[in-house]
Amino acid sequence: MITEIIFAVGFIILAPFIGALIGGMDRKVTARMQGRVGPPVLQPLYDVFKLFEKEKAVVRNEVNFYIFSYLIFVVFTGALFFSGSDILLVIFALTLAHAFLILGAYATTSPYSHIGAERELLQLMAVEPMLILAAAGFYMATGSFAVKDIALWPEPLFMTIPLLFVGIVFVLTIKLRKSPFDLATSHHAHQELVKGLTTEFAGPTLGMVEIAHLYETVFFLGLVWLFFASMPWVGLLVVIVVYFLEILIDNTTTRVRWQVMLRSAWLVALVAGAINLGVLALL
């Protein structure tokens, strides 16, 4: 019990800083890929601190409530995950968090924000089947839904559920808001929908969204790591390689339409999930 609390508290305290470092490295590597110098590695932290220095300008007061709930539930998701709790609960908590984000975007009156919210719903729909199938895969491989038991499984789960790993890496692009699947909102200065989902969030409200994104990044990289949990250092290496691939894909692809995103994500989930779970069930 004590170790679980330590892990959860450790995640809550350290994750924003780790997430910011990852984000900073991301921007640096992106800049180098484009032949630029790029911002300092701590830039995501500066951005967040700055946003809290700005005026509290909000369209409606509910927005702050929804966005705060989004942040709380993302933190809750990660804390559950890193304390070794039930992976299904983790996935549902994450979905609930995003439901709050979408409600926040809908509570504003801007059409850009509304389209962003609709696209966020589509992203959620695209990702959810893969996450549930991955949870099912973890259960079939280890006989437990608890992240703790999955992490302590003696051999790397990548060996038994490799296709599910591929599927998770695929939907990771959607979850990390990377091109070609950055439909709802983007970290780049693409201006097709102003800023999509986050158009109407200013100052501290946007700051909360940014912090939640830092937590989420750490959580999802933790999920990738879980496939190699029995070999922690190999897992870390895989996480680094996967994140580098995400940056590469981000910089070399253009945004797709939502139909393509939904179809491809469901196709990957269906093929990877059906084959992998089918083989597991037969063995």
């Binding site: 790029g38 830039q43 601190f49 220095e53 700005k54 005026e55 200065a189 969030f201 200013a202 100052g203």
Partner: protein, 146 residues
């Protein structure tokens, strides 16, 4: 030193210019000048922006847009008039449709003259604007009792 000077986000708007200055603003974001070194990001969204770059003189049609954009930006904020048209109206100042420089419509903090303003002078103008931004933030924090 506060964080606002480390992460100023920019929005740019073309009042009614020939687009020369606007292109030079975008040139600042290219690999050669790389404004992102200073944490500067080009947002298309006034609600996320700290620095408002306006190019070109203001005419009857762009007046409302400039005012609206300025009002949507959360405090503290600064306005940089880029190019001689944005400063005074430039060669267009006698035109029947031109109201004048940006300062006829919204308060301007930094004037960057030039036709077109060179990227180096635009960057210089933005960096000067950061000093003013910091002053405004300190004043705001004082008022808010922080």
């Amino acid at each position: 030193m506060s964080y606002i000077t480390k992460s100023p986000w920019i929005i740019h708007y073309d009042g009614s210019s020939c687009n020369g200055c606007d292109i030079e603003v975008l040139a600042c974001l290219t690999p050669l000048y790389d404004l992102e070194r200073f944490g500067i990001v080009n947002t298309g969204n006034p609600k996320h922006a700290d620095v408002f770059l306006v190019t070109g003189g203001i005419n009857a049609q762009s007046e409302a847009v400039v005012k609206n954009t300025y009002e949507q930006m959360p405090d503290p904020k600064v306005v940089v008039a880029v190019g001689i048209c944005a400063c005074t109206g430039g060669v267009f100042r006698e035109c029947y449709n031109i109201i004048g420089g940006v300062d006829k419509v919204i308060p301007v903090d930094v004037y960057v003259p030039g036709c077109a303003a060179r990227p180096e002078s635009i960057i210089d103008g933005v960096v000067r604007a950061l000093g003013i931004l910091e002053e405004k933030r300190a004043k705001m924090a004082e008022k808010g009792g922080k």
